[in-house]
């Protein structure tokens, strides 16, 4: 999963490469008596924080921040499962929070040090998500959806059902799906009326067979570039992360984003402290800082993602609040689900996905 605002594809890939190098360094955790040294090591997605958030924080608290980037949850997970190389604050997505929690790689938050938690949306999706009950191991940051990006002039009507992508030849050869195993199979399961995190082999097999049947109409499983396929006119409907479509909508007014009526996958990123963080107190200070309504709104207004901070909403720009690529209709969000860690059943998804790719 990725969410980036930079404008061209090659640049994004470059950043990814640069990231892989940049995070190669490790920090020596230091033993400190009493107050922590004024340092903080952040590990975040690229282009996923306000323009001045870090520098303002450094000024306000007199801290030196080391800021590193990762490209996807697997990179973050692979790094932390072998032991924390020295990060204080990380930004994992929903099911990765769960995996890391089970592996005891996350530190429980001290809520007494986070008074700004009162700003978090009381909706249980945010205040008590299934992958992080009671917000014990992290606080919600930004959230979004997977939907359909489409070219308005090339479709008969807005795609209000996933049918056009999964079960129809209406747009044969003009559609692309994500190359994301859990998301594609999960949303197909939703289209078939099952749970997105189903671990029933027959249901997953049914989703697999539907996708294999649909393959002849699909142009590509887009690894990282569904939005570019749409922008270049190669495809007219693509399944994509909302942020990626939002980015190309700004370049081409003929493009739009919709979340089909069956509901979708809602993703949510979280701010967590990994076990072994050298500066846990500073990390709490930072998390409380970005939960501040104004600071949070500055971030959301810069990166254009939906915030889970209800107090920040009044500072969010009007266009963003009205944009379905950022805040889709509440009734459709209510029908949506987020991914959870399926443990050993991940094998079911892996085998179905390989069958779809090989078939």
């Amino acid at each position: 999963m990725k969410r980036l605002l930079s404008s061209t594809m090659t640049r994004r890939k470059f950043l990814k490469g640069a990231t892989a190098f940049g995070v190669g360094m490790t920090f020596a955790p230091q033993l400190v008596w009493g107050a922590e040294e004024k340092k903080l090591n952040l590990y975040n997605w690229d282009t996923y924080i306000g323009e001045n958030t870090v520098s303002n924080f450094e000024k306000k608290f007199g801290m030196k921040v080391q800021y590193d980037l990762f490209a996807n949850n697997e990179e973050l997970f692979a790094k932390l499962k072998e032991g924390n190389p020295g990060y204080d604050v990380i930004w994992p997505t929903d099911y990765t929070v769960e995996s890391l929690t089970i592996l005891k790689k996350l530190m429980p938050l001290d809520h007494s040090k986070l008074p700004n938690m009162k700003n978090i949306d009381p909706d249980p999706n945010f205040s008590n998500p299934p992958f992080n009950p009671g917000l014990k191991y992290g606080v919600p940051y930004m959230w979004g959806t997977i939907g359909v990006g489409y070219r308005k002039s090339k479709v008969n009507k807005p795609p209000t059902s996933w049918k056009v992508l999964f079960d129809s030849d209406e747009y044969s050869g003009r559609i692309a799906l994500l190359a994301d195993m859990r998301s594609v199979i999960g949303i197909t399961l939703k289209y078939l009326g099952y749970k997105m995190n189903s671990v029933v082999p027959e249901e997953i097999a049914q989703a697999r067979d539907l996708l294999i049947k649909q393959k002849k109409h699909i142009k590509s499983f887009a690894e990282d570039n569904g939005q570019d396929l749409l922008l270049s006119g190669e495809c007219d409907l693509v399944m994509e992360w909302n942020g990626d479509i939002h980015q190309v909508m700004a370049e081409d007014k003929d493009l739009a984003y919709i979340v089909p009526n069956e509901g979708t996958q809602v993703w949510m990123d979280n701010v967590c402290i990994p076990v072994g963080a050298p500066h846990p107190d500073n990390a709490h200070t930072f998390i409380n800082y970005i939960l501040d309504a104004k600071v949070n709104a500055d971030i959301a207004n810069f990166i254009h993602y939906g915030t889970a901070n209800i107090a920040a909403k009044k500072y969010i720009v009007k266009e963003d609040l009205a944009n379905p690529a950022i805040y889709p209709p509440a009734d459709i969000v209510a029908k949506s689900e987020s991914l959870v860690d399926v443990g050993n059943n991940a094998r079911l998804y892996d085998e179905a996905w390989v069958a779809i790719q090989a078939g």
Partner: protein, 304 residues
């Protein structure tokens, strides 16, 4: 100190070998050993790598579905290698027999693509091959001109309307990308052998009445055989393990073995299984290299 002295002085030779040998052990042998150990392990529920002593990953790797991807990769690599040879051998000959003053420039042109990032070069192919890419634009232009000519001679509408060709997101596009990337790897070793080849053999062949074709197949190619084999194997191994090209140029049926390995190491979080497939790929590579060694030892061609 001459080369001879280094050979005699064992200590100096050992010291000179230390950096490279150390590099190989630390960054090649050790990681490979770790992956090998992983391949007998099992996946924990959260995607941890649990060490074990089981052959389950290998059994799973040779299941029909994974074997099918393996065979498809072998097939794609073989076709790419064949096309590379058909294009690369004449090119290598052309350079080797070109007047000396052009040789360096021609070699430079072969090596030139290496100066650009592979990713950029592959994206360039997207811009060429896609529906609204340069190739389709060119065809559309030709189509329009022909249409005008036919209309002029009183046959309007013969050409029909132009439909852009689906050139991208399929296996042929992957093969085009692989041939493009791998071609220099075939040209360089063949050129190296042809360059060293004793021209008097060719002259003798022609003097004794053999034609150009006969000389090519009976003299030049056998003498260049080691270079040809090296080039073919290099291209084949490179194509077999490719990851980037099928992702960017391939369609819904272009998953190759490199992509399967990547899938296991990333979203499936099944490092043990991914390690097992990696080692199967490595074994195939070793077999191919062993075949090369056998062929090379029997051949009487020009060594280089």
């Amino acid at each position: 100190m001459s080369i001879q002295n280094v050979r005699e002085n064992k200590l100096v030779a050992a010291i000179l070998l230390v950096p490279a040998a150390g590099w190989l052990v630390i960054f090649f042998t050790l990681p490979l050993a770790i992956v090998w150990i992983y391949s007998f392990g099992e996946r924990g529920p959260q995607g941890q790598t649990l060490l074990a002593l089981s052959l389950d990953n290998y059994k799973r790797a040779v299941e029909w579905i994974h074997l099918g991807i393996f065979l498809k990769s072998l097939w794609i690599a073989a076709v790419s290698t064949a096309i590379c040879f058909l294009m690369g051998f004449p090119l290598a000959m052309g350079i080797a027999f070109a007047p000396a003053r052009y040789k360096n420039i021609l070699m430079l042109l072969v090596i030139l693509p290496f100066w650009t990032n592979l990713l950029i070069r592959t994206y360039a192919w997207i811009a060429v091959l896609r529906t609204r890419g340069f190739l389709n634009f060119g065809l559309e232009w030709v189509h329009a001109k022909l249409d005008a000519v036919f209309s002029f001679i009183g046959l309007p509408g013969v050409m029909g309307t132009f439909k852009p060709l689906a050139l991208l997101y399929n296996i042929p596009a992957v093969i085009i990308g692989l041939v493009y990337v791998a071609l220099p790897f075939l040209v360089l070793p063949i050129y190296a052998t042809l360059e060293k080849l004793d021209r008097s053999y060719l002259e003798a062949s022609l003097d004794l009445g053999a034609g150009q074709w006969r000389t090519l197949f009976s003299i030049t190619m056998p003498l260049a055989f080691p270079g040809i084999v090296s080039g073919l194997l290099l291209v084949f191994i490179l194509s077999l393990g490719t990851y980037l090209t099928p992702i960017l140029l391939g369609g819904t049926d272009s998953m190759m073995i490199g992509n399967l390995i990547a899938q296991e190491f990333s979203s499936a979080r099944d490092w043990p299984f991914g390690s097992a497939i990696s080692f199967l790929l490595l074994y195939v590579t070793f077999i191919v290299l062993w075949l090369r060694a056998v062929v090379a030892s029997r051949s009487k061609g020009v060594g280089y």
